[in-house]
Amino acid sequence: MNAADTAFILISAALVLLMTPGLGLFYGGMVRSKNVLATLMHSYVLIGLISIEWAILGYSMAFGSDIGGIVGGLDYLNLAGMDKPNDLAKTVPHLAFMAFQMMFAVITPALISGAFAERVRFSAFLLFSLIWAICIYNPLAHWVWGGGWLAGLGALDFAGGAVVHMSSGASALAFCLFLGKRKNYGREPFIPHNLPMTILGAGILWFGWFGFNAGSALSAGDLAASAFVTTHLAAAAASLSWIFAEWMHRGKPTTLGLASGAVAGLVAITPAAGFVTPMASIIIGLVGGLVCYLGVNMKHIFKYDDALDVVGVHGLGGTWGALATGLFATKAVNEAGNDGLLYGNPDLLWSQFISVVATWVFCFVGTLVILYIVNAIIKVRVNEEDENKGLDVSQHGETGYQN
């Protein structure tokens, strides 16, 4: 047991928790004012729901003893067996590692909520999120981090490029295709109602991401410092590449573009954070900003209503990050990692590619199946009148702003 590591992991866990309120603000500012509370709620309520689910069942499914590479056993059910450390983080109390992982489980379904914003029924959303956490997140976390088949394949995912970002992006695509467009989408401008709120949210996400990525080193040392720096540089690079891309494309650099670019860079570096050099992270960020800028414009071409661009930012950013890990990873940074294509090892890129395909297919198909089941019990989409009134009044009986 190491006191510095323990303090570091506990602080990191708190930082990752803060990302979920940050995400709520990031999303909340982008919707119309009649849906601001419902959108904040989509993030905040999952802190409640998923934390309980994780303590009772989720942690064990993800990190319990491996069953056929698919899922963890029930040895940690109801937080049993917390008296000795997990082998993945031997220097910290088991509960600290469990709590750190809990915050990742919380934010992942909250990320999806950007796709179905402004038209989902709250009760159906709760049921969906619970089933999704159990059937998609927990097994996927096991595949990648808990000793499952993707880890066995040699695929690298430092802090959740696949588990958190690709998974939420792929699920978001399935969800918005299932749900259909918002009423009058494309006919009237759907303009963010409070961009300062969104920019604040992006700042909180950036801050919390140091816990997410540096904390994923699971000890307070060289690797954490390395991941901290790569995380920051990628976000910085992507914030610039996004605004310069839109400056050239549309003539103006926007604040929403800067915030979106920073988040895109953070997403892109997530799987690579502990495996690449600082200079590689700048390239990953620069390309990440461009890829995600193209990504958010894709929805206009393919005509799906991914309201707040979860597919474009998290889906594509996570995919680029996973592949970039296969290009730029080097054992010089992390002995426990691997060398990528640019360091003479094409095998890693292949493993990364398989993890991308597996994650997209599993999450996309799984989400559709869950949605058909939930929809048979509770209609996932609100009726037209409730959508017109806004989710704040129709789902929660409140209004965000009095004037």
Partner: protein
């Protein structure tokens, strides 16, 4: 008595208020409104998508004055609000049948 409604650029409010009070106007009501005329709106860009925003912010100033000072007041407004570009706005003048001061019950010109 006449009611004057001015719809014009928000940043002109202070200039117009000063010109009106200099012309002897005692009170007015201002609201923030949105609208468009020949100026139309402008483009806004969110994550690479362009939106045409037709309704642009304007102010509406309402005042009731004695018919005799209408020409003076119009001159004051035009002097303060005119830039010569589209978007300067409009002035509407309508007859007013009666005015009542609630506090005293005075009516007509005395109540203005």
């Amino acid at each position: 008595m006449r009611k004057i409604e001015i719809i014009t650029r928000p940043y002109k409010l202070e200039d117009i208020k000063k010109a009106l009070t200099d012309a002897g106007v005692k009170g007015m009501t201002v609201s923030e409104v949105k609208g468009f005329g020949r100026q139309r709106g402008h483009k806004e860009i969110y994550r690479g998508a362009e939106y045409q925003v037709d309704f642009v912010p304007k102010i509406k100033i309402e005042l009731v004055i004695d018919a005799a000072i209408v020409p003076t007041v119009l001159k004051a407004i035009e002097g303060a609000a005119r830039t010569g570009e589209v978007g300067d706005g409009k002035i509407f003048i309508t007859p007013v049948e009666e005015v009542v001061r609630i506090r005293t019950g005075e009516t007509g010109k005395d109540a203005i």
